[in-house]
Symmetry: C2
Subunit: 499 residues, 2 copies
Amino acid sequence: MLEKIDLSKRIGKDAYKERIREQSEKLGELQRRCKEAGIPVMIVFEGLGASGKGTQINHLIQALDPRGFDVYANDKSTREERLHPFLWRFWTKLPAQGRIALFDRSWYRQVTMERFDGKIPEAAMPGALRDIQSFERQLTDDGMVIIKLFLYISEKEQKQRFKKLESSKDTSWRVSKDDWRRNKDYSRFISICEEMLEKTDMDYAPWNIIEATDRRYASVKIMTLVTDCLEEALRQREIRGERKEKEIPVRSIQYQNGVLSGVDLTKSLSREDYKKEIGYLQKRLERLHSQIYLRKIPVVLGFEGWDAAGKGGAIKRLTSHLDPRGYKVFPTSAPNDLERVHHYLWRFWNHVPKAGHIAIFDRTWYGRVLVERIEGFCSEEEWKQAYQEINEMEDHMANAGAVVLKFWLHIDKDEQERRFLARQENPQKQWKITEEDWRNREKWDQYEEAVNEMLVRTSTTYAPWIVVEGNCKYYARVKILRTVVDVLEAKIRETKKNP
Amino acid sequence: MLEKIDLSKRIGKDAYKERIREQSEKLGELQRRCKEAGIPVMIVFEGLGASGKGTQINHLIQALDPRGFDVYANDKSTREERLHPFLWRFWTKLPAQGRIALFDRSWYRQVTMERFDGKIPEAAMPGALRDIQSFERQLTDDGMVIIKLFLYISEKEQKQRFKKLESSKDTSWRVSKDDWRRNKDYSRFISICEEMLEKTDMDYAPWNIIEATDRRYASVKIMTLVTDCLEEALRQREIRGERKEKEIPVRSIQYQNGVLSGVDLTKSLSREDYKKEIGYLQKRLERLHSQIYLRKIPVVLGFEGWDAAGKGGAIKRLTSHLDPRGYKVFPTSAPNDLERVHHYLWRFWNHVPKAGHIAIFDRTWYGRVLVERIEGFCSEEEWKQAYQEINEMEDHMANAGAVVLKFWLHIDKDEQERRFLARQENPQKQWKITEEDWRNREKWDQYEEAVNEMLVRTSTTYAPWIVVEGNCKYYARVKILRTVVDVLEAKIRETKKNP
């Protein structure tokens, strides 16, 4: 994409002033309209060293209301960030609806500079590019506007700029050895950028090359591009808004006699056997916890299940012997204000465990295809899309070395009723039962279909579902603990072989 | 406080089981009641190495609803944390109303382990202890319950535990060289702890020594202590709730003819002089920005002023030549859901700049003694307390090396009216004027008193107020820029002398 670019483009001072004034006013107004429409915007500044990214960002934000944007400078990742999947630091920085986030370098650092420096093995490139593609697709599907800018200057121009920066003591620290290496080996760096640009130039998030030799020309082009993109986004939003019709909830006939109907709920365990087994497994897990910490393995355990299926009790048995510095339990309830104005996966990305730590989710991102689907909190298009999005997220975690397990705690309708009634009679547990629990119960069949579909479509090799026969709590707890112990032991054996 | 402690205390297994069951049930219920009452709780686990903090925390949280608590392990501070004032990492982790935060080591690390290791100079100790005292006082004044536990074991017991940990490969990594040094020099470490315990044992946040030789004894004591404290907090809340009466807004007569009445608003600057000066100052500031980055000086600039006094315009001129990677503008509006259930200073602590960075606040924490005071959003007691709390916060920032400047942009009532009307006529600026602005204007006199009091009570040597004559925008912008430039240059000179 780069060889056709004419780097000699310039603009005169007067024309520049007029264009900037005109575009600035427009931009301020577009920002307000996007805020009203709840459109989130990401503007990505990538490109060559000393191509003027910082200056251009500062120029652009002068036209914006500071109440509505954030600038993120993405230097080398911190230790904390390197202990997470590489997209984690960007997921956690997503702009809320109506806000603008500007990125000075971005998730593309991975597939440009770090590739050039040899920090990312070549074998990891296709995976990283695929992760980036799905990241941007998920966000744009959710209404995000992504504007990607690549600031381009010639080898000679870059060399001159580095020299100028080095000539003053106020700015010399800005030029690093790595910068010079990329200038010396300019053509190799450019060819890496070329490949990145080609592979990530998608219709939903296209690249824009900015000829950055003349700063004024670049400023005008960037500002014009941004205003054009925002105008287009608002126009699209209007069209889609008009087309939106009342949706009809879909019944998934093919999932009516699915996985759950085959589960053997008579499985049980005596109190004695339970006591023996659970104690033994808890001690093994305690030792494994040290091992996964030392081997820096992140662990994600998701718990879903019918109300009163025993998720809380199972999680307690799982964690009772663990070091609290190494695990966290994240209970998921209805999203709060801030969560509601972000992508539905954002709040879970905020809790992705770092290497060596365990994150336990009491209810999970699968709410999208369960309660949100049934209650109509999202559209049919949205929950149908979610299967792929969730698989991609879990795949990304697994690629970063994580163990990902998901448990469905299954009980039958009679058992649930017994437990609801028992809770209502116990003063210590009354608070656990609400009107809503009884209402959800009435939608048992709809939920069952949704669970069946979820189990089929999101049980993967890298993040399997384990259906837990839960009518007998002892049996269920032991099965969960044993599964976790077995999987962690296998993972540790594997890392011993391929350290 | 430690020499009187009997470390041989024990409890039998059966008595233990019964007490724990009883206290666990109680604790679960108290957690729910504290949640309803909106009481935030911090439980601090301090004490000797291998005294069982992790185990005790895990034991305690088994009785808690995971939807209501967080555990924070405070290992050595990260690079990011060291670039902030030392209390920053704890301010940002405050529990919201109704939530419980458990700290495995805490802000006391600074005045115990790091003091022992010689990482904190002795001269910094009194300041650090004072910062801790005011931190805890501010929080408890705001309704926080702080439960501080010091787990104590003997030199011999500690040695045995270290040896036992070292004997297994699963746990040997838990014992560090530093741990052994604290055991070898046990009496010196204990005397450091003694001093810390004595100086921070306050009526609003007392210490509890836990005899931790027998883990069961310690568990029972901790759980009983926590339930007692929560019960007491609920009782206090009820009493205070009953006593709360309608408050009568107070007029501060002594501030009626205060600082603002003496401000000379005729000061002005011609357009030509402005253009010359502003360009010169912006270039100087650009260079200084590099200097403060290299010297790791954090800079906090707060802007307050009448509506339409020109805060936004001044901030734009201040930032137009700065590198966006090194500064952030934080506009302050009404607090959101999450902010409302935290201490009012919490949201500003979240934006304290790290070393080498500039944080610009468009409206600030002074809202507490301005809008919140005038509109009755907080009680009289609360805003009167705020002067000291704010001074303490700014003092803490200054102690961490920060430059803290606060600007009051002053215009007179006629000038404000002219600007409101001009904005209403300009289609680009109409959105800036709301009904509320006109309503606030009616309370001009009350605001003037509040501003006068604020200027007197919170202009300090370490964080001065600068009143800016704002009827002429040119004059105001130049004055602000020149002040910032002068103060930064002086600071840099000072750090050159005392690096």
